[in-house]
Symmetry: C2
Subunit: 350 residues, 2 copies
Amino acid sequence: MLEEILAQPAALERTLARGLRTAAALARVIGKRRPKLIVLAARGTSDNAAQFARYLLEITTGIPVSLAAPSIFTLYGARVDVRDALVVAISQSGESTDTNLVLERAREAKALTVGITNEARSTLARIADHVFLVRAGRERSVAATKTYTGQLMLCYLLAQALGATIRTDDLRRVAEWTQAALTLAPEIAERTERYRFMERAVVVGRGLNYANAFEFALKLMETCYVLADRFSAADFLHGPIAMVERSFPVFLFAPPGVTWLGMRGVIRRLQALKAETLIITDASHGAAIAMGSPTLIVPTKLVSTNVVPAELFTPIPYIVPAQLFAAHLAERKGLDPDRPRTIEKVTRTL
Amino acid sequence: MLEEILAQPAALERTLARGLRTAAALARVIGKRRPKLIVLAARGTSDNAAQFARYLLEITTGIPVSLAAPSIFTLYGARVDVRDALVVAISQSGESTDTNLVLERAREAKALTVGITNEARSTLARIADHVFLVRAGRERSVAATKTYTGQLMLCYLLAQALGATIRTDDLRRVAEWTQAALTLAPEIAERTERYRFMERAVVVGRGLNYANAFEFALKLMETCYVLADRFSAADFLHGPIAMVERSFPVFLFAPPGVTWLGMRGVIRRLQALKAETLIITDASHGAAIAMGSPTLIVPTKLVSTNVVPAELFTPIPYIVPAQLFAAHLAERKGLDPDRPRTIEKVTRTL
């Protein structure tokens, strides 16, 4: 798992370089036939990437997005009207039976289809009209890392193809920031000692980093067997915060930008409750650092411009400290993050 | 909270009787202007009702549904193109600032709007084109119960207005089944003793009962301070099941119908891991009962016909044992479920 975390900057560069052509081809099709709806179908870590895409695409393109509930197609056999939609399936293996079935149904309805996968020869790659490939090499750890960030990168290209203002130069810098984030490894390895006996935790994110809260929680569950629940800052205050008592561990993604005010409110509430908070933020964001809670600072300066909000490119570098945390905590707990008990890499869903 | 749980059958009857007229009026409008997309906006328990509506509406009407992420409208100020959509906000108080803003934006875009709320004089009731009222009386407990089931009832009427084959007679029987479910109270009160020291748990549902998994987990978090994570049966097998060891508590909604095969697979896996499972099912469903795990049996015979799948009307009666469980467990733990620490009834989100 650690090896695959370290491989991410190179994988992102390759994925971006080769994905640009696919994006350009897709953009030509979309120029003629703009979708009125985007449907995203995925499971597990890929579903977390879809959660990111949901925010990214609605924010940058204004096209409504629906995260598909595959069972509606597979179990209930419903005929959802997706004629005017762009239907996107995301799957590391490309062999997720239920998300592939959503794509099949979409094809039958004459919708435009896109697949995002690691495997060029998979069923998904065969049935989708357009295929974005994650060029991350074979992922051997059951806990997905490099395929998640690769999927996120391709979501940016998908947004670009749909007309969003996303500059390729900024995407190139994302790979550099990911490299910078890896330098946190020794600090994180040390910090995990404190969490040796953690059995439950909460992860909070919002907006573009909400998906990262899902992904961090999933890594903690899969590799460390920590029951980790994930909430948006807003939903967390609506009820679940009642659980939090002194020393309750809460991890927060706190980038600069529009989500900061709400996140600051959550952090203050947690500080008053004497919870054990750990904030993932970046060097540009003095406000988060100044709150006095322990922080993991992604060593990069993100730049906000007129066209791109400050946190647009944070999700990929921000998940890196979380991946490192899960991998090192698993080691501290004497567990093998590459081969969690009970589960397998490819899940076929009834 | 217990008092409000007991008030549900009567509240459901009132809500149904008065809601039929609203549904008929909405049906006339929809006859002229069929929406191509349904957008649902909500927070907290109301968001769990929206999760139910998502399945119900796609299965019974075939119109794609998107669960809105309010921050996309409120924080990112995105202009999502909802012109051809039906936009539905669900809020107990009708004063949720962010979901109301989603509805305001929808009005500006000339979308058709619907509000589902407990409060006839709320902001939400004022701004929505069509208003469905939950006739449950004032809800005093911070933990919502009778407003949740009332919202579910109105979701059926919304589906009916959109042309779904949902017979009013069946909806009337839902109130009777809810009454029958309340007879489980003594059994549940006794059973909670075993869970006195439970600190973490998982709730599994799927399809139409997936929302109930969210709602049961939220009740356990708010009223019992148990960290309760909720998963669809499919996502659970994709990774989080790795956490489960001997005696790990897992609650499952296992109605008859199309989700049963997958749920049976989950139960078998959990039995092999010697987890502490408790299955919510009904008297018609011998298959679930025969698996030998402890069950809470809703004492009703659900009937499957050609037009309605067996589990279509299970979600309201099935949440009742879960509500009772949370209320009684809170009591066992010496907590006051009506006034959880830290949180308030109406949450205004930045």
